[in-house]
């Protein structure tokens, strides 16, 4: 595989020169990551409608194409053809900038996600910090959208979003600290590799050595905070239809609305990837007998994404003060306490991380 | 990964660590029992300070110990200043208990912030590095800003807190700027390292003096020396009296330690330069403080201006250590110990004076005007006598502790060749005697305007009496405290 790749790349490199080649090759890699991602987003919306349909004993979309498979394409075409409305009193520049600011971090974060051993765009040492920094930037899209719309519902949505996203970022960050402590690295590849050692690995039960088991409470905190961070049900007060219509997206239409939509689903997939990498062993196979590979990561992400949909179909929406209480009074103290527990555990003779 | 890491020696910092751990205990105890057992936080705070005192006494072995990669120093001076600080804070807590309870301010946060302010002072006293000096100062100041504003319904207190915060932040900025300049010139943040670098003379003098100006300005701000004194009257006046009592007492010890460590331990090579700056500020402070105090009708404001003049005296002692650029160890120790003696004596008197203001206050009534002291002799001859002793001592009338403090400082100044300055200082303190004696006149020769009985609790009465007796007793036996100060400094320099 590598030899084949080199055979193709070497002449191109000679043709373009080193600087231009780096730029072009990086761009190619970006496309290779983003194109499947966009496709996944499209089919995630389809899958969501299907799953929720089945859970509610309905059929879900089944008209367009075989089993409704062309539905997301049709939706995309429809959104493309719709007019982008600009409210008369909106702040025009920011109104158009907001969807871009919302989707850019959701895509930029993928730069450091390792899909398999060595399959990563930028294998930087402070990968986790980069992820935290980029995801903390996502809230701007929502706030600016809410403010630039110059309308009441969007503004409420923006206020709620900024408070909620900042609150849950804290517990997510704290939960991650325990992961960093046990894996002794900020590099995502190393974090995955650190999960491939342990007593259970020698029994062939690799999945018992992944972080989710020893850090079980933090796995829960991270997963739930991830749901809240992406403003998904049951924490979707930011855009809860029955409360504030669509929150910050009320005034948006056509493709500008679709950008928010894409950002939300891209963020969901990102959170799923992060959960899989930090707690579920990334591309590692669950049993020692089976080979590792990207398909395991994909499977784990699909499972986490299914959880997102499952939550949406089962839980009623939280009240706003309850969301804040859960974040600040339950998750933050719990994660702080667990950092202490893990620290003591690592220093004690009972440690399982050496 | 950490193969060259040595666990720092925690033994010298034991009091600080104990205080920090106990503050967490107070935090949790207040969280759980705060609503039902109101006095628990106060009790625990006093216990904490007593525990710190015990630890400090046990661990004081007279040796100078450096720890935390030379950022923390534990010498006899630090131990002595810390002990006086604990004592002062305990006295503050006892004096202010009833006052706070009457105004609904005796919440756990008050005691916590007092504890953290104490920690800040301890850090400053034991600092051997610019970074720790700055952090200790910020810890102390931040706690004090919040304490000044603790009574949220009093707009005057809020205004005072705002002024204190803005000016204090600016002073910290000046201090930090000066520190960064000196760091740039000497390449060291350690006080010992700075002194060494200057001794070897590799650093640029221009930059050093430039940094020194900012450093001295920042220190003067914190001490409240003219021309950086603007915040003192407003904050003393605006803050709840209990907080004024705290601000006016223990932090002066920490400020003394900070000045000594920065200027004498660190920048001794520039003594010629800072001497001139301090001289000017000392004379201005003594002059302006005493003159402005005459015009005051509010006793808290009057005491604020008197603080300015007292700090001027203290600085006068501190700058007399070097004579014309020549260092004579005997003169130096004499001068620094006179300044230390002055600081301790001032804290003692200030505690008593503000304690009297607290004594006369009661629920719904602030006894903060001079008129409230009218005819105190008829209401309570004993406490009128205590106030008399304190006022006489502050005025520098023999034979109270304040007299010997002034005497020691002036002697040091004369020895250093500042005879004219000493004469000017004496003249102004004669002017100052006027307003102190006015209080005595009001107490003994005027009829009371307010005849309500004094309702202070017994512990406060006893402690305030001891305070007054101590002011008199240290005046009768001045050598005891003086020789303690000299020994302390001799073994720490």
């Amino acid at each position: 595989m590598d030899a084949l790749l080199n055979a193709v790349l070497t002449p191109v490199q000679q043709l373009l020169g080193p600087l231009l080649f780096t730029v072009v090759w990086t761009l190619v890699k970006i496309v290779l990551i983003l194109a499947p991602l966009m496709l996944s987003v499209a089919y995630l919306t389809f899958w969501e409608r299907k799953v929720i349909g089945w859970m509610q004993v309905r059929i879900g979309p089944n008209r367009v194409g075989p089993w409704g498979l062309l539905q997301p394409i049709a939706d995309g075409v429809k959104l493309f053809l719709k007019e982008i409305l600009l409210p008369a009193v909106a702040d025009k520049k920011l109104f158009l900038l907001a969807p871009v600011l919302s989707i850019a971090p959701a895509l930029a974060a993928w730069a450091v996600i390792p899909f398999s051993e060595g399959w990563v765009l930028a294998n930087i040492d402070a990968g986790v910090l980069y992820l935290l920094a980029v995801s903390s930037f996502g809230v701007y899209g929502v706030i600016i959208a809410g403010w630039a719309s110059n309308s009441k519902y969007p503004f409420f949505g923006a206020m709620r979003a900024s408070a909620q996203m900042i609150s849950y970022e804290i517990s997510m960050g704290l939960a991650l600290i325990t992961v960093l402590m046990v894996s002794n690295s900020l590099n995502l590849t190393d974090i995955v590799k650190a999960q491939s050692t342990g007593r259970f690995v020698s029994y062939g039960l690799d999945f018992m050595s992944w972080n989710w088991l020893p850090l079980l409470p933090m796995f829960g905190v991270y997963l739930i905070s991830g749901v809240a961070e992406t403003n998904r049900a049951p924490f979707d007060v930011v855009e809860g239809e029955s409360e504030i219509v669509a929150g910050h997206m009320v005034e948006y239409s056509g493709m500008s609305f679709a950008m928010f939509f894409l950002a939300e689903y891209a963020n969901m997939i990102l959170i799923a990837a992060m959960v899989s990498i930090f707690f579920l062993g990334g591309w590692l196979s669950p049993f020692g007998l089976l080979p590792d590979g990207f398909h395991w990561l994909a499977g784990k992400m699909a499972f986490v994404l299914f959880l997102f949909l499952w939550f949406r179909a089962t839980f009623p929406r939280y009240r706003y003060d309850q969301i804040m209480r859960l974040g600040w009074k339950v998750f933050v103290p719990l994660s702080l306490a667990w950092i202490l527990v893990v620290g003591v555990w690592m220093m004690s003779p009972l440690t399982i991380w050496k | 990964m950490l193969n060259n890491f040595v666990m720092p020696d925690l033994y010298p910092a034991a009091p600080e660590i104990f205080l920090l751990c106990m503050s967490f205990l107070v935090l949790f105890v207040d969280l759980i029992f705060g609503a039902t057992h109101r006095g628990l936080a106060a009790l625990l705070t006093v216990v904490t300070l007593l525990g710190c005192a015990a630890i400090t006494i046990v661990t004081a072995d007279g040796h100078t110990a450096l720890t935390f990669s030379n950022m923390f120093v534990d010498d006899l001076l630090a131990d002595f200043l810390k002990l006086v600080t604990y004592l002062a804070v305990i006295v503050v807590l006892v004096y202010s208990r009833q006052y706070l309870a009457d105004r609904g301010l005796d919440r756990g946060e008050f005691y916590l912030l007092v504890l953290y302010a104490t920690l800040g002072m301890m850090v400053m006293i034991s600092a051997a590095n610019f970074v720790t000096i700055y952090l200790g100062l910020e810890l102390l100041s931040l706690s004090l800003y919040a304490l000044v504003a603790i009574d949220r319904n009093a707009s005057r207190a809020t205004e005072a807190a705002m002024k204190y915060f803005v000016l204090g932040a600016m002073a910290s900025g000046l201090l930090l700027y000066g520190m960064s300049m000196i760091y740039g010139a000497t390449g060291s943040l350690e006080i010992g390292g700075v002194a060494q670098a200057m001794h070897h003379g590799q650093s640029d003098k221009t930059i050093l003096v430039f940094g020194l100006v900012f450093l001295v300005a920042g220190v003067a701000f914190k001490l409240g020396l003219v021309p950086f004194h603007m915040w003192i009257p407003d904050v003393y006046h605006g803050a709840p009296t209990a907080v004024t009592l705290l601000i006016g007492s223990a932090p002066k010890l920490a400020a003394f330690a900070m000045t000594l460590r920065l200027l004498v331990y660190g920048l001794f090579g520039l003594a010629d330069d800072w001497q001139k700056m301090l001289l000017l500020m000392a004379v201005l402070s003594i002059g302006l403080g005493n003159l402005a105090a005459i015009a005051q009708t509010n006793i808290k404001r009057m005491l604020a201006y008197s603080t300015i003049s007292h700090m001027g005296f203290m600085i006068l002692g501190l700058m007399s250590g070097v004579v014309g650029g020549v260092v004579d160890p005997f003169t130096a120790v004499n001068a620094y110990s006179s300044a230390l003696y002055y600081t301790v004596a001032y804290v003692l008197m200030s505690l008593g004076a503000f304690g009297m203001v607290l004594l006369l206050s009661r629920a719904g009534y602030e006894a903060e005007n001079l008129d409230d002291f009218r005819g105190l002799n008829q209401r309570s001859p004993w406490f009128a006598a205590v106030m008399l002793v304190i006022m006489f001592s502050m005025a520098g009338i023999p034979f109270f502790v304040g007299f010997f403090a002034k005497f020691a400082v002036l002697l040091a100044a004369i020895k250093a060749g500042y005879t004219v300055v000493a004469v000017v200082a004496v003249m102004f303190s004669l002017v100052g005697a006027f307003y102190y004696l006015r209080v005595v006149k009001l107490m003994y020769f005027d009829a009371p305007v307010d005849s309500a009985p004094i309702t202070a609790p017994m512990d406060m009465r006893i402690l305030l009496s001891i305070n007054g007796v101590a002011v008199a007793a240290f005046g009768l036996f001045p050598d005891a405290l003086m020789s303690l100060c000299t020994t302390t400094l001799l073994r720490s320099l």
Binding site: L19, D91, L94, I124, D125, A126, L129, L132, A133, V134, S136, F137, V139, Y140, I143, I144, W147, F155, S162, A163, I166, E169, D321, Q322, R325 | M1, L2, F5, P8, A13, L20, L27, F68, S69, M71, F72, R107, E109, L112, L113, Y116, V123, N129, V131, T132, L135, E138, L139, L142, S143, Y145, A146, A149, I150, R152, A185, G187, D204, T206, I207
Partner: protein, 212 residues
């Protein structure tokens, strides 16, 4: 020109532009957003200096948290920008003077004559050099005491903020989820044991009605 140099000037130009716009923007929200842009570019510059930890922290702390709260406040306020801009031109000389002074000072510092900067030549570190790890190592060993002190200062800030802002009003209708969750059946429901109504009473009533 190297790619690094191009990037440096790109970041620097955008940063200076953004900083100027922070001061000159007519809309406070725009000003805050330009400040965010300036921070972002500063982070980029730090990244070029191989200080990746500081760079990412700048984005995380300032852009991700501080500025969001700042924006939150600015959006809520009704700032009369015309009022604020009054006297812009009269204060400009002073402000510009201070700015120029700072530039001059920085020039003195960076020229290296006074501060011995020439003793610290730029280090060419290998690409896998982790300055996050280096910082952590220094922070938790040599500087552990200031680090702990800084955390105590933050704790004081938290206590002070809570003390100064939290007030329990009597008329709030807020709910207490703790109490709601802790509710037991016995708090809400009282089962009263009582004899069921005897049928003959009804019969007597019926007779009484017939009579009237």
């Amino acid at each position: 020109m190297e790619l690094k140099t191009i990037l440096f000037y790109l970041f620097a130009v955008i940063m200076v532009f953004a900083a100027l716009r922070v001061v000159t923007a007519r809309n406070p929200v725009h000003a805050v957003l330009f400040l965010v842009l300036a921070f972002f570019n500063a982070a980029g510059l730090w990244m070029l200096l191989q200080a990746e930890f500081l760079s990412i922290m700048l984005v995380m702390v300032y852009v991700g948290a501080v500025m969001v709260l700042f924006l939150f406040v600015v959006m809520m306020l009704d700032i009369n920008i015309e009022q604020m801009r009054k006297g812009f031109w009269t204060h400009l000389p002073l402000g510009a003077g201070v700015g120029l002074l700072m530039v001059a000072e920085m020039a003195v510092v960076l020229s290296g004559r006074y501060f011995g900067l020439q003793n610290f030549p730029p280090q060419n570190l290998p690409a896998n050099h982790s300055n996050t790890k280096e910082l952590a190592r220094v922070m938790f060993t040599d500087y552990v005491y200031p680090f702990e002190l800084a955390s105590v200062i933050l704790l004081v800030a938290v206590i002070a903020a809570v003390m100064l802002t939290q007030r329990t009003r009597k008329d709030t209708k807020g709910m207490h989820p703790n109490d709601q969750i802790a509710v037991k059946r016995n708090d809400r429901l009282r089962i009263v044991r009582m004899v069921s109504e005897p049928p003959e009473v009804q019969a007597v009533d019926a007779k009484a009605e017939e009579k009237s």
